[in-house]
Symmetry: C2
């Protein structure tokens, strides 16, 4: 039985009349297929430069090594694999990490509860997921404030309604009104119930990763989860060269359960890595080689993504800076290194340092989105909604960015060189001094020829002025409200929803609230 048939069968078995009614009345929301690039990648580094960086990364692993902190099991695994272990320091002989990485798949499918929303991560593909991690939210009406679970649910709904987003993400904001040790349950429940797109698991404790797996077993079925990847989760490396036991514990849970992890340094250049592009790339490669290799020691063949979250720093204020040329160099270079490793690649996003969804935010974000597309990124976390260096999830910027992700889809299609694309008949029909608007070729193609924003203003000046001379943020405020007003929950078997609710209730009752 195929994966899809198996799950459809499961759902049909589980659901009764109520489920069928729910499925009938649900409004289908259009979601674009993940991007399959038909355009080349941009390569900023020469082969010689890549060779140097790869050799340097091997030197870092062999001579400096990496620390696996408070994790005796990891040290034992490394020792058995042939590394030199000295306290918590692991020195990895040249070539060993790369060799271990070879069992990681070059691409994998992450399943969604709606099979039409499955994504294939790797190859020429690009999967777009929303912002992850901000403790604050902002909108024009309410300003900047601590995020709550109500905000979180709104973002999940906006993500579900966003045509160009393929993935529901993970911690789209931190629901600070829910106890720290319980919020992962509510977040996962929201992704599972308010959206039917794929999502991420919890990484803040190994036990929460385990809860994530168990909730997926309710949603997808236990056997399905063991045989298929249904979560992609974010495992950060503590740069420089350090792997803490919390993150590694979560990685171990996911790898053992065949669930995907993004193994990603989080680097502010000049603070957590050298203040140079080549030096940072060397460290990124050393760190991800060690992290991916470790995932394969836990379970050979476990799906992983090589990540690079790297930004520059303003040496005047110490603030991280975004959308900068150095970040572009690193993103392009890390993409080349990932392809040479044969691993899916995560980088770029709607990065900006601005406090508002203004011009600064958009310059910086557009720079990062463009480099993400051209650098061969396979999984773009933070693809919409990021504001203020990631401290804030912005409602307006979420829909602004989500709309703009359409440009990436259209560019990635490449140039149509068919006879219709060549349009020689049109040029002959119109001739010198003529006009194309009415010609046969234009009439046949105009509806799909050009990408069109659903948010930006394209009106004549006078109309725009009469309608209140609205800027992009004001238009975005209206769009947020419109999307939330028209949101309808995607159909879900009520029995599954009930079992998820019961799981949450039981788990929450089993432990006291913790707020730090």
């Amino acid at each position: 039985m195929s994966d899809t048939a198996q799950r459809s069968g499961r759902r049909a078995r589980g659901g009764g009349g109520a489920a069928r009614r729910a499925e009938r009345t649900a409004v289908s929301v259009e979601t674009a297929k993940y991007i399959e690039r038909n355009v080349p990648n941009y390569e900023v580094l020469t082969e010689e430069a890549l060779d140097v960086i790869e050799a340097n990364a091997e030197t870092v692993l062999a001579e400096i090594g990496v620390n696996f902190v408070e994790n005796p099991a990891a040290l034992a695994r490394w020792k058995e694999a042939g590394a030199e272990v000295d306290g918590e320091r692991v020195r990895i002989p040249r070539g060993l990490a790369r060799k271990l990485c070879a069992t990681a798949p070059a691409q994998f499918t992450q399943h969604a509860r709606n099979p039409e929303r499955n994504v294939v991560i790797g190859g020429n593909n690009l999967v777009l997921a929303p912002v992850y991690g901000p403790p604050f939210v902002r909108d024009a009406a309410g300003g900047r404030r601590y995020a709550t679970m109500a905000d979180f649910e709104k973002f999940v709904k906006l993500g579900y309604m966003s045509k160009w987003l393929h993935h529901s993400g993970g911690t789209v904001c931190e629901p600070t009104d829910v106890p720290v040790n319980k919020r992962h349950l509510d977040m996962l429940f929201a992704h599972m119930v308010y959206s039917d797109k794929p999502f991420m698991g919890s990484v803040t404790e190994p036990s929460r990763a385990q809860d994530s797996v168990e909730m997926c077993e309710i949603l997808f079925g236990k056997e399905f989860v063991q045989n298929n990847t249904v979560m992609t989760s974010l495992i950060n490396i503590n740069s420089p060269l350090t792997f803490d036991n919390v993150m590694m514990g979560a990685l171990e849970v996911f790898a053992r359960n065949n669930q995907a992890s993004i193994i990603s340094p989080f680097i502010v250049g000049g603070a957590m890595a050298p203040v140079s592009v080549a030096g940072t790339l060397t460290q990124v490669l050393a760190e991800t080689l060690a992290g991916v290799a470790y995932s394969q020691l836990v379970r050979p063949g476990a799906p992983v993504i090589m990540g690079a979250f790297v930004t520059s720093i303003d040496m005047n204020s110490g603030a991280p800076t975004f959308g900068t040329p150095e970040a572009s160099h690193i993103t392009y270079g890390a993409g080349q290194l990932a392809r040479r490793l044969g691993l899916p690649y995560r980088s770029a996003g709607s990065f900006c340092g601005s406090k508002l969804p203004d011009a600064q935010a958009a310059y910086e974000t557009a720079n990062s989105l463009n480099m993400g597309l051209l650098s061969g990124v396979n999984f773009m976390l933070h693809a919409c909604g990021w504001l203020e260096g990631g401290l804030v999830a912005s409602f307006e910027k979420f829909v602004m960015d989500a709309d703009h992700l359409g440009t990436l889809h259209q560019f990635a299609k490449g140039v149509d060189m068919s006879e219709n694309g060549q349009a020689m008949d049109a040029i002959a029909e119109v001739g010198p001094g003529g006009h194309y608007l009415g010609c046969v070729h234009t009439q046949a193609n105009f509806k799909t020829a050009f990408w069109r924003s659903e948010l930006f203003d394209y009106k004549p000046f006078e109309t725009w002025d009469e309608e209140g001379a609205r800027d992009t943020q004001t238009l975005a405020t209206a769009r947020v409200q419109k999307l939330l007003d028209t949101y309808q929950q995607p159909a879900l078997d009520p029995e599954i929803e009930a079992r998820l609710r019961a799981y949450l209730a039981e788990k929450k009752a089993s432990m006291p609230d913790a707020f730090s």
Copy 2:
């Protein structure tokens, strides 16, 4: 005697004590050298696709042909060169236009009155010039209004003060308070006197092109102008496939005087060209082949730039749209075609459709600037200040874009793979779990390591909030004022300035005012 020595000599001869005093007291404004790319170009089209488009363009020229309107001399030149002339239609045998283009230089130097500001157009270089042509201006205080000569002078001063702008441009806005038949004189005077960067000549009548040459002869010396290129002017093709006698008349004046022309279609896709990328590229190539070939018929070796101003259209409203994926495809593709022709390439700019310098403006602009850099553009007109589809020159957006052009400079440097760039000592010094801020390598490199905006906000949230929670436009308003307040006119031989003023007075007295 070298060009520079010759001109320095001239200036020293011409200037008296006043000139020397002026030169001593003038404040030197830092201007970056034009960009010399040390990064590869992005190529969206395959060799096969380029072959198809080139063959199609030859078919267009041979079978459909182009019109040279009300220009018997042009028709005679074409006939003599071997084209088939039928009324105003010129059909160019396959290969002839490309062959004629071969005498155009692959790159040329445009001289500025300050030799340090000379630019080399072609090769791997990128020269940045401001917006051209808007009849309106906008700033936060005054809103949108018709442009005046006072606005024009302000823009020239801002361009002079902008570190990342290499070129003073041409009609940075239309000074609508000056008679149509005289405003070119005031505009040229402003570029010559208020800036020392290179500039563009007038193209609105052949006689005004001639006036531009004569004013340059006063500024640079007659012999210098005949032997060197001191203007690059914008010759638009009336797409589709039409060359009017006004623009061709100006081109003829400039080519005869060894002055450079950008020969450029102005295309809103779906209106002036087919509603497809490959079809538009075919027409762009056919048009620029014919235009460049014609320049070489006028004077073999005349410096020219192959231009492509192409934008998409919103088929709902009919408005041109900017920073779109189709515009990117065309810009990348036209760059490849220009390189195969061996001609300098003009495209891209701070394009946007937005009415305000808001997020829409910045997304669209950043998209266009990025593609301009990666597509191998050699001369980027409209690199800053463009707003509302080119109807408006925005003071705030001018300084926002001009600041952001710094990112192009930094990216184009490429990745430093020196031993210092590799930073292996730093990685060894810091080790796992350490911090790079204090290490030797960071201390030695931090000042130049990362690009930094002089406009964007990088402050902590609390500081930013206390200072008024300013958005990018508000910061830009302050920057405009600061630049204008600190502006000092670059030194110019008073005798030359007096002769320019006398030329203007005489010219203006010789004709009645015309306002249409």
